[in-house]
């Protein structure tokens, strides 16, 4: 397949009861092999955009084309959801099974694999993410970073063609952070990554975009900033 993986055009969404549209006539194309970083202020609608792309919210206007077909209705999105992996902002919402192996095997089971096949698929993915030995761990006892990695495993177990990651680095300790970067750098799956962490995005994304007033703003404007410039230290105190 050659065309874009997903194309949004003129997408508009207002929350019920909200006054202004959060997503407002947005156009966006994700091509094969893309790896995009999406960086924008709190509340600008990043999560909402992902929900629209997965059919969890219904836009008031606009067209979504995925894998060469226009997608409408619950049926259409079922296909999209099989091929697009979405990592939630809160891992506790995504890990609903009691043990790690059950959670990772949940997707493959629903894709029609038998219990044994799903199990071995799950084991393979866990191994790949450096989570071997986690099979029988209890999900709610995992630490924040472990939860995040397992959630990523649940998504990867479905062999997605496109990954949507919503702030995958929040709450990660340094070790897990590095492991995540390594996994993403090794993976060839197309992806869109939301994060507030510019350094992280630089490592895992080829180009950047932002959301301004409900529209996607691409790369060009942002590249201007990828240079060292004078800036008062605005973060944690260091000792040089």
């Amino acid at each position: 397949m050659d065309g874009p993986l997903m194309t949004l055009s003129g997408l508009t969404y207002t929350y019920p009861g909200g006054r202004d549209p959060v997503i407002d006539g947005l156009d966006f194309t994700i091509s094969e092999g893309a790896s995009l970083g999406l960086i924008a202020p709190n509340g600008s609608g990043k999560t909402t955009l992902f929900h629209l792309m997965m059919g969890l919210l219904k836009p008031q206007a606009g067209v979504l084309t995925a894998f060469g077909r226009e997608v409408t209705g619950e049926k259409g999105f079922r296909e999209v959801r099989r091929r697009v992996g979405f990592l939630f902002q809160d891992a506790d919402d995504q890990l609903f099974s009691p043990t790690v192996i059950e959670d990772v095997a949940f997707g493959p089971r629903n894709l029609g694999m038998g219990p044994e096949e799903a199990r071995s698929k799950a084991r393979a993915v866990l191994l790949e993410l450096g989570l071997a030995g986690y099979e029988d761990r209890i999900t709610f006892r995992l630490s924040g970073g472990e939860k995040r990695m397992v959630a990523l495993a649940t998504v990867l177990a479905m062999d997605p063609d496109l990954l949507l990651l919503d702030e995958p680095t929040t709450g990660l300790d340094h070790e897990t952070f590095k492991r995540l970067v390594a996994v993403l750098q090794a993976s060839k799956v197309a992806r869109v990554v939301i994060s507030h962490d510019f350094d992280f995005l630089e490592k895992v994304a080829d180009s950047m975009c932002s959301l301004v007033r409900g529209k996607i703003v691409m790369d060009e404007g942002l590249h201007l900033h990828r240079h060292a410039h004078v800036h008062r230290h605005g973060d944690n105190p260091h000792y040089h």
């Binding site: 929350y15 019920p16 929900h51 969890l56 919210l57 219904k58």
Partner: protein
Amino acid sequence: MHISEGVLSAPVLIAGAVVAAGGVAYGLKRMDGEGTVSAALVTSAFFVASLIHLNIGPASVHLVLNGLVGLVLGWAAFPAIFTGLLLQALLFQYGGLTTLGVNTVVMAAPAVAVSLMLSPLITRKGRMGAVASFGCGFLAVFFSSLLLAAALVFTGENFKVIAWASVIGNAPVMVVEGFFTAFVVSFLRRVYPELLLCLTPEPPQMEERI
């Protein structure tokens, strides 16, 4: 509110198990996939809330909450309460496995009954709604204590005194549950009416949930 292991006679245990199985099956049948997920999480919330202790003078009682379970879950109260009791038996050894049926009926039948009786009134604004929701909490515990007494009396004449004592002893709990239920319903009616079954004949749209 539950009966310990080893007290009840075989006929009572069997009758309880049969009725509970019917109620649970019917409750399950009425739940779709999304409903099951909601019921599961709401059940955990009720489980946690039932650990709250309220003071009555120097004593403290813990909440039963079955009236509220009925209002929120309707017929799903049967599987939800079954789940709660099973987890309690496992985690705290309250009740047990053979009494699971009887205890489920004792708690869930009143829950469903008050929700069928009083749901229409709960929606009313003002005093009527408040009284109805107080009644929900009060009556659910009252009916439960009657069922519990009945289970004891059917087991043997010897338990008559204990049966009556438990009905009377639960009277303060009924009043406290009444107030508690009224406060919770008033909160939900103002803040999140979707959660009161009687206010949402149809399941809420997906958009509202995200």
